[in-house]
Symmetry: C2
Subunit: 191 residues, 2 copies
């Protein structure tokens, strides 16, 4: 079951206009907040954005940051993004019915790790509800943190645009099982 959800789940950057009921969003956060964390600190906080104005503000800030990033970008990541057709434009930030901003309180032990573990729960719960997302990480998180009045120690981890999937792009292929496991120790010198 988890294996099926995990295999089926792909990144979604295009969404239907229809807005999913808020109950679905709350249900997936109910799952995510059950994740374990160091000292049971539960360092995560979720901001649900629904208003078109705020989505546009967030998109605007992110795209400004993206433009600067794309101007400077070189190397492997640059080539990959270009090959895949990515640009500084992030329409999903205003087109998705919801933006789910995931923050972590960096004072907690292993806060970032625990929060991304919880994001793993989130993605599977979204898939089960028939919803899609992409784990978008803006180049300029500070500006978004200020926009939503984040307390000093709360750092933005990702912005998840959420809605019913409308994205024909297939899932990228994953490596074979034998290429990601070893017994007792690493077998090769290079990965």
């Amino acid at each position: 079951m988890i294996q099926n959800l995990a295999k089926r789940r792909k990144t979604v950057r295009k969404f239907k206009k229809e807005k999913p009921p808020i109950e679905k969003i709350l249900k997936i956060i109910e799952a995510a907040k059950e994740a374990p964390s160091g000292m049971n600190a539960q360092p995560w906080h979720f901001i649900i954005i629904e208003t078109p104005e705020r989505k546009r503000e967030i998109r605007g800030l992110c795209e400004e940051g993206e433009k600067k990033f794309y101007e400077k970008m070189k190397g492997k990541l640059g080539k990959w993004l270009q090959d895949k057709g990515f640009t500084w434009k992030k329409p999903f930030l205003s087109d998705a019915p919801y933006l789910l901003l995931v923050f972590t309180d960096v004072r907690a032990p292993f806060a970032v790790q625990a929060t991304w573990l919880a994001i793993g729960y989130l993605l599977l719960a979204l898939e089960e509800e028939g919803l899609g997302t992409v784990t978008y990480t803006p180049p300029n998180p500070r500006e978004i943190e200020e926009l939503v009045n984040a307390p000093k120690h709360y750092k933005l981890q990702t912005i998840l645009p959420v809605g019913y999937p409308n994205d024909e792009k297939p899932k990228y292929e994953r490596k074979a099982l034998e290429d990601v496991i070893s017994f007792e120790k690493f077998e090769k010198n290079e990965y």
Copy 2:
């Protein structure tokens, strides 16, 4: 379903002696490797440890590190560990039928984040298979990395002891939903 698994799942530090079939371990890694990652780099690598000798070596190295950590430890974390009855002893590292070492290739973009997201998949898949674990992070990862011949850029993220649960300790309580979400922006100044 995900919500139920997530709610039911608790940290397990004591295991039955019975060894789960290796197929179950492979099945949960099959789920985890489906997680998304920046540039689809799939930066994770999983080492499955089954031999008593290697488990004992790992336990020995971790407990040496833990002793030093506990001698120096102060503050909130120290008090919390003491209150909860934790010590430098980590019997689960030799008692669990399997140790699953999760590594990440830190050269990949957002490698740590993607790998912990995949660990979120792992934990739910384990729960579904009736298996338990604790996301143990050793204080001295370098020594374990050397022991298992980890390539230079592969960093140990966690050691998951895996087996059938035999731990009566209840799940720690989670915060209420309303304490981890806000709409449009943070509502309070302090969290």
